[in-house]
């Protein structure tokens, strides 16, 4: 038997090395998925080796190769946000069939080959598709067949007024059932609606441990229960009361089978169960159909905090949610932050605490707008900050007047790296310097008017909009009950109107200065 086995092995590896899909795979796919199928640079791009996406029927893979795939998705527990182009117009049926067959039979994948006829057929049935697949759409069409979380799971139903684990263990099971889904659940068929109190459940099955290491179990119950792994009782909740304070315990496990037994009892009132495990290179996986939100971190979200060095400010220019695409974020070591729109020239937002998280834009391709990281976020204005109004009751314009087109001119940084924004509204030149304070900002706006405007025109600066403005004095106001605004200097007094604070600016030649203090209450 032995020589035969060796011969089989030889011929298999011989076949693989000469697989007609190997060369085209390495040429067209290898740059991202890597010649070894593990994804380039330690998995920066999704692996195909032992990927659940490759497993099972080939249709999912064929559609990805034909039509491409983009956006957020998860492979082998790791998140990606990339795009793979479609290949229907650049590769022929036989090339695609060879490549997919090679992928399905390499690096531990043991799936059947596909034929060029299968590719041709899929091409035909999906001929109308002219956009890249998104993961959720594709998975709806071709769900990934996941093995049950707990293998060979059996449940035992007990009846009785159990107050302790010992009470439950003294009773006898009234019923045993197979749980094909592999998840523990209180929605149990053997329990009728009038039996939601005074019962117990015991489950037995086994976990497929992916690798040697320390595994952490998190169990939450209403009322009590216990978890036993490989015969060792690691969690005991000898308890009658509400859920919300899960118990977390760890145990060393070896790769392969680990037996698990879960006990649970419910005396009266609310009922709840949640059990999860996580381990080396394995993110948190729930073993119950209901999930506790308390305790345990989980989630693969990375974070790259952008922090101003001590005594300095830092600029983050990228897509920031709450301002425009040309927005500029500035974070100050005083613990205050702002976002300025390079489109409308408005200081759109101020906030306290953390500045920005760069992970969205600095990992993968960087799609989307990232919201500010901190707290006490105030949107003080959106849209144009300067406009000519016929009268004080003229509604604030949405679009700029031809004579008063906003133009961003850049910014200067002082020694503390704090920006002064420079912009024009038509012939009017503005320098806008928000200085950080311990509680907010003192903003100095210098408006340079080159020549007198026409007699009918009056220039206004809109300091606040989109929220409740209340007067607290001639020059002091509150905004949404959270922010104190003090217009400490301006040639004309500020005035409020519905959800707005306006400051008239003279159009006489020369420089007119407006100073505004923003302070959180």
């Amino acid at each position: 038997m032995k020589p035969f086995f060796a011969a089989t092995l030889l011929s298999t590896s011989f076949l693989l090395a000469n697989h007609p899909g190997k060369a085209p795979y390495e040429l067209y796919c290898g740059a991202c998925h890597a010649p070894d199928g593990k994804g380039i640079s330690g998995g920066q791009n999704p692996p195909l080796a032992e990927s659940e996406w490759v497993r099972g029927k080939p249709e999912r893979t064929i559609e990805i190769v034909l039509h491409g795939l983009q956006g957020k998705l998860e492979v082998a527990g790791k998140k990606y946000d990339l795009a793979m182009p479609p290949h229907k117009d650049s590769l022929k049926d036989d090339q695609i069939a060879d490549i997919i067959s090679y992928v399905r039979s390499s690096w531990g994948n043991k799936e059947s080959a596909v034929t060029k006829e299968q590719i041709a057929a899929m091409r035909k049935t999906t001929a109308k598709r002219n956009e890249l697949w998104k993961a959720n759409q594709l998975l709806k069409k071709y769900p990934i067949e996941k093995p049950p979380a707990i293998r060979d799971l059996l449940s035992y139903t007990h009846h009785g007024a159990f107050k302790t684990i010992a009470d439950l263990r003294e009773s006898k099971a009234a019923n045993a059932e197979e749980e094909k889904k592999g998840l523990i659940s209180l929605k149990h068929a053997a329990l009728k609606n009038d039996q939601r109190d005074n019962y117990g459940l015991v489950w037995e099955g086994w976990l497929d441990v992916p690798r040697d290491g320390k595994y952490t179990f998190t169990y939450d119950t209403d009322d009590g229960g216990a978890v036993t792994v490989n015969g060792k009782e690691i969690i005991t909740r000898n308890y009658v009361g509400p859920a919300g304070k899960p118990t977390t315990k760890s145990i060393q496990l070896k790769k392969g089978r680990a037996d698990i037994k879960i006990e649970y009892f419910e005396l009266a009132g609310q009922e709840f169960i949640s059990l999860a495990w996580q381990g080396p290179k394995m993110k948190k996986q729930f073993l119950s159909d209901t999930k506790s939100s308390g305790g345990g971190g989980g989630g693969g979200g990375q974070s790259i905090p952008i922090v101003a060095p001590e005594g300095e400010a830092i600029i983050y220019r990228n897509f920031i949610a709450g301002t425009d695409p040309r927005g500029i974020g500035a974070g100050y070591s005083e613990g205050v932050n702002l976002a300025f729109s390079g489109d409308s020239m408005s200081l759109d937002m101020i906030w306290k605490g953390d500045f920005m998280d760069g992970a969205r834009h600095w990992i993968n391709r960087g799609q989307g707008f990232q919201p500010p990281a901190g707290d006490h976020l105030m949107t003080v204005n959106r849209g144009l900050p300067f406009a000519m109004l016929e009268s004080q009751t003229t509604p604030w314009p949405k679009d700029a007047d031809e004579k008063l087109k906003p133009r961003f001119k850049g910014y200067n940084l002082n020694k503390q790296q704090q920006p002064t924004f420079n912009y024009h509204f038509g012939p009017i030149k503005v320098q806008d310097f928000p200085a950080p304070t311990a509680e907010g900002f003192t903003r100095t706006i210098k408006v340079e008017v080159p020549s007198p405007g026409s007699a009918n025109d009056q220039l206004y600066f809109r300091a606040l909009s989109g929220g409740r403005v209340q007067g607290g004095g001639e020059r002091s106001f509150t905004f949404n009950d959270e922010l104190l605004i003090n217009v400490s200097s301006s040639e004309h007094p500020p005035f409020t109107r519905e959800n707005e604070l306006l400051i008239p600016v003279p159009l006489t030649p020369g420089t007119h200065t407006v100073t505004i203090n923003y302070t959180w209450k």
């Binding site: 791009n45 600095w362 391709r365 799609q367 707008f369």
Partner: protein, 482 residues
């Protein structure tokens, strides 16, 4: 585990070019500790300083990049907080960067080593928040124009909110904007040839059968009509061509001369997969024997390719060869520095690349030893003339069996890329070796206009008996000379 290590070693050995170190010395330049320097731009500054910009939006200045001992390089932070700049040059004391939202002039006015003045030169174009709306900017031309190619919104869209996606514009340092060429899809770099004409690289995708190097002929149409819709925004602008999907590029060019076929097709997979930087060898022979030729960066394969351009019947065309490889990440910017030092930078974020590192900054210098290579390739009325860097061995050069040929083109279509189609096998009818033995004239029948003509010269040896370092050449035959 043992098997895995073994195969990994095998793979990296297989990728390495064993002959390159004889001719070119490739060295990695250490980057600032703890910083992620995914390079998007390289600028040469006075005093032997080299500035680099990163995709994260930082600008760092490197001193010592020309020194023998690269472990002693000194880095100084010049600026942070720029928005994915892709294109940077130095002029009169300032660095100019083409960022996603604008072109910006960065100046250190108080001499403390950090930029304190960020002046917006222009923000003529729109951006709508899509990461794919990249802008690649050139150095200024002789008139002070920065040529910028605006990538489409996403792979093939053009957002109503972001005008002039899919266009090349020239932006003067004084801020004026001149529409130049529509038809752009997804550029990877822009630059000039020795004659001062602008070229950019465009990637395989919608309306691009293969990646290629395209000539930005002012008024010419580069091939992808997605950005055509913006002409409505400006009065008096001419409607760009509306090509027929499923045709061939030269066929469409014959119908509408504004449609400019790619100067050099870089056959997808065979030469590269994501062409990037465009520079030319301006070293007067100090970087090897290829003075005046255009060098093209290649992101996926982590290489630099070499291109010979000639103009035939008013169109640029020519030959592409593989050139430098084994860079540690996907090459995006390239810049010829002083002392004939080639600087390249790389990143593989979002787009996979050979090389294995997430980012890299490297330099390449010629060892002084001339490789036996094809030097130039010219189209002739009856075939091609290929010149060499060294005299050839007449016997092998005259033997038709030393040459293998093939030809194909790509479908000019709306879909993503194209297979190689209309395959042909040109025949070499006669071979004449020049008296100086430094070129061969191939009389070739079965040439097809618009096709890539592939010649493999594995059998041709130099007079000294060596084979070609790179035996494959790909000639894009847009026009056959009379």
């Amino acid at each position: 585990m043992k098997n895995f290590i073994l195969s990994a070693v095998l793979v990296s050995t297989a990728l390495a070019d064993p002959r390159q170190p004889e001719y070119y010395l490739r060295e990695e330049i250490p980057t600032p500790e703890g910083e992620v320097l995914e390079l998007g731009g390289i600028a040469i500054m006075p005093g032997k300083k080299v500035a680099v910009s990163s995709r994260r939006g930082d600008v760092w200045i490197c001193e010592g990049a020309y020194e023998k001992d690269l472990s002693k390089v000194k880095w100084t932070l010049f600026a942070r907080g720029l928005h994915e700049p892709l294109g940077m040059f130095y002029k009169d004391g300032s660095l100019y960067l083409t960022q996603r939202p604008e072109i910006t002039k960065l100046t250190d006015t108080d001499g403390d080593g950090r930029a304190d003045q960020f002046e917006t030169i222009t923000h003529h174009w729109g951006i709508d928040g899509d990461y794919h709306e990249y802008n690649f900017g050139s150095d200024p031309d002789k008139d002070g124009n920065i040529w910028v190619v605006h990538c489409l919104t996403g792979s093939g869209g053009a957002s109503d909110k972001s005008p002039w996606r899919g266009w090349c514009y020239r932006y003067n340092l004084d801020g004026t904007a001149t529409p130049t060429s529509p038809g752009i899809r997804s550029p990877g770099g822009i630059g000039f040839n020795q004659a001062g004409d602008a070229f950019y690289t465009d990637n395989q995708g919608l309306w691009n059968g293969s990646s290629s190097l395209k000539w930005l002929k002012p008024g010419g149409f580069m091939g992808n009509p997605t950005g055509n819709k913006y002409v409505k925004l400006e009065e008096g602008m001419e409607e760009p061509p509306n090509p027929t999907s499923g045709s061939r590029m030269v066929t469409e060019h014959d119908k509408d001369k504004r449609i400019i076929p790619p100067a050099i097709i870089l056959p997808h997979g065979k030469v590269g997969q994501s062409p990037t930087a465009v520079i030319y060898d301006n070293t007067g022979g100090k970087f090897g024997p290829f003075q005046g030729q255009v060098l093209v960066g290649e992101q996926t394969h982590s290489q630099v390719q070499r291109v010979y351009l000639e103009k035939v019947k008013g169109l640029y065309q020519g030959a592409a060869w593989k050139y430098l490889e084994d860079f540690r990440s996907g090459i995006v910017p390239a810049r010829m520095g002083e002392d004939a030092t080639l600087f390249v930078g790389g990143t593989n974020r979002g787009w996979g690349a050979r090389g294995g590192k997430t980012f890299t900054f490297e330099r390449v210098r010629w060892t002084g030893k001339t490789p036996f290579e094809m030097h130039e390739m010219h189209a002739k009325p009856d075939g091609f003339v290929i010149s060499f860097t060294e005299p050839v061995d007449v016997a092998t050069a005259k033997n038709p069996a030393s040459y293998q040929t093939g030809a194909w083109t790509y479908i000019y279509q709306k879909g993503y890329g194209s297979p190689e189609v209309d395959k042909a096998t040109p025949t070499i009818d006669a071979i004449t070796v020049a008296p100086d033995k430094k070129s061969v004239h191939l009389k070739v029948s079965g040439r097809v206009r618009g096709h890539v003509h592939h010649f493999n010269l594995s059998g041709v040896k130099s007079a000294k008996g060596t084979t070609l370092w790179h035996p494959d050449v790909y000639y894009t035959l847009n026009e056959i000379p009379d």
